[in-house]
């Protein structure tokens, strides 16, 4: 990463390495899937029916989608030891004689998923293999299809965000859109975005602001300011991760591989902007509310004990769309775009408005600017 303080005039994208998509030995999902053609086996059908009636399955989080094990206390222990012994558990399932094709395929997927590498270091083939596996796995468990991509960063793109303090009225439509778009845990009411309600005439007093209000907005004598992950160009959260489960992509997005994160929460302590959220318990999203357009690094289902955060809706932004919050904002306070495109709105804002960022003194170089009309 070239360290230039003038992040958008001096580009970070030109000395990017072209990744050769070497062949890989991981794409063997089709190995055990003779049942691909059969649309839905009896077993899966039954499972789906049960699901529909008791709604048990829908409560499964990503972790269980992968492992599909009911953890009672005893098996939890067994499971732990098994995993530590490099997946002895998975071996036993995949060698099981009595299981049918579907179960075998599930076991095969579980096995490969448990021991896949870090997404950051995967070749393109490996990336699509794991995405395939996750989609197939979801289909096997629930009988429903999701679409997941592993789209890489585009050339000459660096995403940035601007927030108009004068316009925001505190409606929180962005917050709700974000929850729905990103399949956030409904039980713990996880929210990536926080809207701080501040008193007029007091300046930016974050500590006296209220980020958890339940009254009619806009409230008299107040103004509003939103915060979320700022996708720092020099992100301290990335430095501290012991396993490189979080990193800065070439288009400036700071992302997390949920399957690689070990849940140490060091990154959370390192983030000066309260940008990160942890899955303290199993995240749950009702099946019918799940957003099925997913990206591996974005809104796919998470599991318990991993970190997550705003990704600037990687599943949307890499397709050229605006993030859900930008789309949902009724006042137009949120502006998103490519910093390297001189004709983009965000560049216009940066060049024509008096912009500022939070905690500039920390040298994190957030790609999130505030401005006023």
């Amino acid at each position: 990463m070239s360290k230039s303080k003038k992040w958008y005039s001096l580009d970070l994208g030109f000395n990017r390495k072209k990744e050769s998509s070497g062949s890989c030995g991981c794409g063997k999902t089709s190995g055990g899937c003779q049942s691909h053609e059969k649309e839905m086996s009896d077993e899966a059908y039954l499972e789906a029916a049960v699901t529909a009636s008791i709604g048990e399955e829908v409560k499964k989080d990503g972790f269980e989608q992968v492992f599909d094990v009911k953890m009672d206390r005893r098996t939890a222990f067994k499971k732990l030891t098994a995993s530590l012994l490099i997946g002895a558990g998975a071996v036993s399932t995949s060698c099981s004689v009595v299981s049918g094709d579907d179960t075998k395929e599930k076991a095969q997927i579980d096995w490969e998923e448990q021991f896949k590498g870090n997404y950051k270091l995967m070749t393109d083939n490996e990336k699509s293999a794991t995405v395939e596996r996750l989609m197939r796995s979801y289909e096997l468990r629930t009988g429903k299809n999701i679409s997941m991509t592993s789209e890489n960063a585009k050339e000459d793109v660096l995403f940035g965000y601007a927030f108009n303090i004068s316009k925001c009225q505190g409606y929180m439509d962005c917050v709700n859109a974000c929850i729905e778009e990103n399949n956030q845990d409904r039980n713990s009411e996880m929210q990536y975005i926080r809207i701080h309600e501040m008193k007029d005439g007091k300046g930016l007093k974050f500590d006296e602001s209220d980020d958890n209000y339940y009254h009619e907005v806009p409230a008299e004598g107040h103004f509003y300011m939103g915060t979320q992950c700022f996708h720092c160009d020099n992100p301290p959260c990335v430095e501290v991760c012991p396993v490189q489960a979080t990193w800065r992509e070439d288009d400036g997005l700071v992302v997390i591989d949920y399957d690689w994160c070990v849940g140490c929460r060091y990154c959370m302590a390192a983030c000066p902007y309260d940008g990160r959220r942890f899955n303290w318990s199993k995240p749950e999203v009702p099946e019918k509310e799940i957003n099925k357009n997913q990206h591996y690094l974005g809104n796919r289902m998470r599991k318990k004990g991993v970190m997550e955060k705003c990704t600037f809706c990687v599943q949307r932004s890499r397709k050229g769309q605006n993030p859900a919050c930008v789309e949902a904002c009724p006042t137009g306070a949120r502006i998103f775009g490519n910093l390297l495109d001189p004709n983009s709105t965000i560049r216009w804002v940066l060049e024509n408005k008096k912009v500022f960022r939070l905690k500039e003194d920390l040298g994190t170089e957030p790609k999130f600017w505030y401005f006023m009309d």
Binding site: M71, K79, L84, W260, R265, P272, F278, G305, L362
Partner: protein, 406 residues
């Protein structure tokens, strides 16, 4: 081949000693086992429901586990205070104490690792952290440094006493040529584990309470007070309940170490308080929260106002030779000093780092029953490991355990 035989016989002999003992010993071990089982049960609840069963939240994302981890790194590092005089300076007085000290270091390190694992959200994917198999973010992440130094230190502290005991077990003298380089290395290493652990926090610009240059040195000072204090207490117990002879002189020398470290620690505390309260800035809010509470939130006040008086009292009492040389007073001082530093270095250091949060929000932290259960379980594990190690070592040193050629 012969070595293997000796090793086998050593393992059997030590199994023999650790399973037999007085009634009091059996009660003690039974009690520890019970606490460990309770801890394991609590941990199984945590595994099932996730870390939501703890008091931690997005705002205070580290709690009791990491507090104890931090403190115990200090205890482990303190073994060096005994190693140095014995092996390097050839101070014979410490010879008996040093094996105990190293046993303590091993137990403390095992507890450290257990606390880190207990704190992880995904213990089943911890292999991601193993260099070679996983991805090890070295040298960027201080946590990877910590993994290296802790495991290295564990290795050193297992191998040195093992070598010595192994020789003694066969009735041979241990060769100083073999273990002195290791001992010298472990002296530097002990400083490293503690400094690196301090850097873990010190390096975070997001948390002004930690991001100060004094944190590392203060870690060392308090570690060299609390660790040897614990060693004194342990030696006192061993002296009382076993035939293992530990001279008054040894204990008094260690007391000297404790005293000096406690004094330095106090000076640093004053310096820190001066900086935070003479010209308070926005960054002093955590300290305000810790010592006086902020906006009516004051969960930590009882803790810190227990710790500070205990700390001052112990340091002052230790400073007077008369008082320090009275063993009962000394034990009392060591005990309160240990408690004071446990609070200060654990709770008083980790929790205020997160309060107020990055945008000034104050959400308090209180450990839950499950969390406390797991914590107690891990402490019991440490005590269990230490008892086993100490019993074997004492057996060998007293000559009860000897290799017999059959």
């Amino acid at each position: 081949m012969r070595r293997l035989q000796v090793l086998k016989s050593l393992v059997f002999d030590s199994l023999d000693t650790i399973t037999k003992g007085s009634r009091r010993y059996n009660l003690w071990m039974g009690f520890l086992t019970f606490v460990m089982l309770v801890g394991m049960y609590c941990y199984s609840i945590q595994l099932e429901h996730g870390l939501s069963v703890t008091g931690m939240s997005d705002r205070v994302s580290w709690g009791l586990y990491i507090s104890n981890f931090t403190f115990l790194v200090g205890v482990a590092a303190a073994a060096v205070m005994l190693v140095m005089p014995t092996y390097v300076l050839h101070d014979i007085d410490f010879k008996q104490a040093v094996l105990i000290g190293e046993g303590l270091a091993v137990a403390a390190l095992i507890m450290c690792l257990a606390f880190v694992v207990a704190d992880m959200g995904g213990p089943s994917v911890l292999w991601h952290m193993i260099p070679g198999i996983g991805v090890f973010n070295f040298p960027n992440s201080m946590l990877t440094w910590d993994v290296i130094v802790l495991n290295g230190y564990l290795f050193l502290n297992i191998s040195i006493p093992f070598y010595i005991l192994f020789r003694h077990y066969q009735g041979k003298e241990s060769k100083s040529k073999v273990y002195v380089p290791g001992a010298i290395l472990s002296v530097f290493w002990a400083v490293a584990i503690h400094l690196v652990t301090a850097f873990l926090y010190q390096g975070l610009q997001a948390r002004p309470f930690w991001n100060n240059a004094l944190l590392g040195p203060r870690f060392l000072a308090s570690a060299f007070a609390a660790g040897p204090a614990l060693i004194i207490l342990v030696l006192a117990i061993i002296r009382r309940f076993t035939e293992f002879k530990i001279e008054d002189k040894t204990i008094k020398k260690i007391a000297m170490v404790v005293t000096v470290a406690a004094q330095i620690n106090l000076i640093m505390l004053v310096s820190e308080l001066f900086k935070e309260f003479y010209a308070p800035t926005h960054h002093s809010e955590s300290a305000y929260y810790l010592f006086f509470g902020l906006h009516g939130k004051n969960a930590l006040l009882p803790w810190i106002w227990t710790a500070i008086p205990l700390n001052v009292l112990a340091t002052v009492m230790l400073t007077f030779h008369k008082l320090r040389n009275n063993l009962n007073v000394l034990y009392f001082c060591c005990f309160i000093l240990f408690i004071a530093i446990w609070i200060e270095k654990g709770f008083g250091l980790i929790v205020p780092g997160f309060i107020p949060g990055p945008y000034g929000k104050i959400e308090e932290y209180m450990p839950t029953g499950v969390e406390i259960g797991v914590t107690l379980g891990i402490w019991a594990l440490g005590a269990f490991v230490f008892t086993i190690l100490a019993k074997t070592a004492i057996g060998i040193e007293l000559g009860h355990l000897r290799y017999k050629k059959k």
